[in-house]
């Protein structure tokens, strides 16, 4: 009876004072509500049947977001690779500059490494940028003002401008080998290189902050 009623204390008191049929009758009346509420489910918002068009639209959104996720994961990986290659290009570029114009012996030993790093940096940066631009937009874009993504985008625009400038300037500097104005071009190339690197690092670092 205690198990059926779920109220052991009351049942214990009643079982001493009532005869058996009365106790059973009490048990029946107590058990009756529980048999009526076996299904606890309820509809907070009643479901409406979706039209075929709405279902197709929902599936299209899911597909585009899966594509977006995949592209942005590659974008992230290539972005990290770009930072690594850019740091390499900056280090070898500074070494190359010091070797040639900073009292070094003009051995040219860092040129090939600088070329490899800057080529890789340009290639990964361009690919990462294309992936980001190609990624489908999210279904809703809440206006959050200037957030980390906004700073990331602006920093990358600066970095992109810097990289394009560096490409042109780097080729121009190298082509002036043996000319007296090469030092001026190289200094400009070096300064813009650091600015570009700073923009790139800013754009990546800011993403670590919510």
């Amino acid at each position: 009876l205690a198990l059926l009623l779920g109220r052991p204390v009351e049942v214990a008191l009643l079982s001493d004072s009532l005869d058996e049929p009365a106790a059973l009758a009490l048990a029946d009346t107590a058990a009756a509500p529980s048999s009526q509420t076996t299904d606890f489910n309820f509809d907070l918002i009643p479901e409406k049947p979706q039209s075929a068009e709405a279902i197709a639209q929902q599936q299209a959104i899911e597909r585009s977001q899966a594509t977006r996720r995949s592209l942005l994961q590659w974008h992230q990986a290539l972005g990290i690779a770009t930072v690594a290659f850019t740091v390499g290009a900056l280090i070898t570029g500074q070494l190359n500059y010091s070797d040639k114009f900073g009292g070094g012996s003009n051995s040219g030993q860092y040129e090939i490494y600088h070329d490899v790093f800057d080529t890789l940096a340009v290639a990964t940066f361009a690919t990462a940028g294309i992936l980001a631009l190609a990624a489908p937009s999210p279904p809703t874009k809440p206006d959050r003002g200037v957030d980390t993504i906004t700073i990331h985008k602006w920093a990358m625009i600066v970095a992109a401008a810097g990289i394009v400038t560096q490409l042109v300037l780097g080729i121009a500097t190298a082509s002036q080998e043996g000319h007296v104005d090469q030092a001026t071009l190289a200094t400009t190339h070096l300064v813009i290189g650091y600015v570009t690197g700073a923009a790139l690092l800013t754009g990546v670092t800011v993403l670590f902050f919510p």
Partner: protein
Amino acid sequence: MTARRVTVLCGTLWLVGCTNGQTSTGTIVDQTAGLFGVPTMTPGESCLSCHCPDSHMAGCTGKASQRVWTVAGTVYNDPMADAGDGVAGVEVIVVGDAGTITMVSNAAGNFYTAEDVGAIEAVIVQNSKYRMQMNTSVKPPAGDCNGCHASPPVVYSNAFGRVFVPKEGP
């Protein structure tokens, strides 16, 4: 230079390995200069035989015609020095009728310029202690110092051995 950068791109991204004097993209690797050439390459040899405008010129291979030097050479401490014993940090001043250019020898002793100095009137080679001067007039395109200044001395020239300046200290 664009070709150079394209080659680097190919070499880097397409995992090129140099085999049999060619990259897998077909770029010929010069046996003297390698894929690119460096400022310290082939000291003591005639620079302008490759760093000249085109192969139609007498004595010009045209191998480095994208980087034409007007004056180039290697400086040593001794006129009979071995080719690899070039000296770094020596100042080379070339006075021409179109201008004067000052160069500093690199780690291999090489110096070079692409600036037009016109007909060379004098060349000064100096370190902090000694100063050597050549007053022989040389008309362009004969800025190939090592073409005459060689060891053993070139028979047809008046140059006695390599371009040199005595060593500063013991």
